[in-house]
Symmetry: C2
Subunit: 189 residues, 2 copies
């Protein structure tokens, strides 16, 4: 099989096992069954591996958000669907989600195509918010409304993922109920 994808898969698995700090070029090579330099034929350096994973993450999240936003219902309902999809993505794919928002690992400016993928993903939310704001809204208000929605789901996702929202939210079921409660509260406005 293509070494390139083997490297990516080994990296993902390694992070899942040993955490972000445990990602090691040499261990990845070992798991892929090649010498410690082989991965360098496909990735310029460690940051490039991370960037590739981040790109994948953005793609998957983008798809999920697009799917959620394409559902039936009014703008508010669809926006809530997108928010739910965002938070659930973080819980489903903790490795990707964490990687995507850990700028000290990648400097995405070095990888413009990944950055572009990120903006495409973000665009889904942005478009929906613009629709909600209506034609008459000024740019500033639209931006604030976007930040409001994004901040809420992003904050909820990260806090939940890092276990900061109390120990009562141990199981997946409790987390999902909590997400629903928060979204419902937010939607009542």
């Amino acid at each position: 099989m293509d070494l390139r994808v083997r490297v990516l898969e080994a990296s993902e698995q390694l992070i899942a096992e040993a955490g972000l700090a445990g990602l090691s070029m040499r261990e990845v090579a070992r798991r892929a069954g090649v010498s410690h330099q082989a991965p360098y034929h496909y990735f310029a350096d460690k940051a490039a591996i991370v960037a590739a994973l981040v790109g994948r993450g953005f793609a998957v999240l983008g798809d999920r958000l697009a799917e959620a936003s394409a559902g039936r219902g009014g703008i508010r309902e669809r926006l809530e669907q997108v928010g739910r999809a965002y938070v659930l993505f973080a819980l489903d794919e903790p490795v990707y989600f964490r990687l995507m928002f850990r700028p000290e690992l990648t400097d995405l400016k070095r990888f413009p195509e990944v950055e572009a993928e990120g903006e495409r993903t973000f665009g889904v939310l942005q478009g929906l918010v613009a629709e909600l704001a209506g034609e008459g809204a000024g740019e500033e208000e639209r931006e604030a409304l976007t930040s409001l929605h994004w901040s809420l789901v992003h904050g909820l996702a990260t806090l939940l993922l890092d276990g900061n929202l109390g120990e009562g939210l141990g199981g997946r079921a409790a987390q999902e109920r909590h997400i629903e409660a928060v979204l419902r509260l937010f939607g009542r406005r």
Copy 2:
């Protein structure tokens, strides 16, 4: 001067200059003007240094939140003040803020007193939200309301800090205006 605090200050400065990934035990020792093993007399390992900084960060944030929550005005106004203080803390002390929510660096369970400091800090927000919810509210609803508020400000802080909210928010002034706009939007409910 106490080597312990010199180590902490060198660490903080080093992170500010070289980023979280740039924090190195040996470089810290070098900057403190001691041998590479001297810091180990005060900190068991690298994670212990980070934990000490995190504790400091929680203390400072806790003070700021307490101050903000003690102002005049109704619950809603004070809650907004607390939210503002939270986001501004992230912008004022990016090193601390980032450290505080990067669990792969510390495993706070190893440092219960730091964890406790964090919970104390969190308690400020929690208390205020409880007041807002009123006596009649159930535990679940109170928790959801807490998460709602915390998620919003936490998400806003992290997205702003990582430069994810668009390039137009380069300067501090623009950031503060944006924060106000988002908080105003959120408060209108």
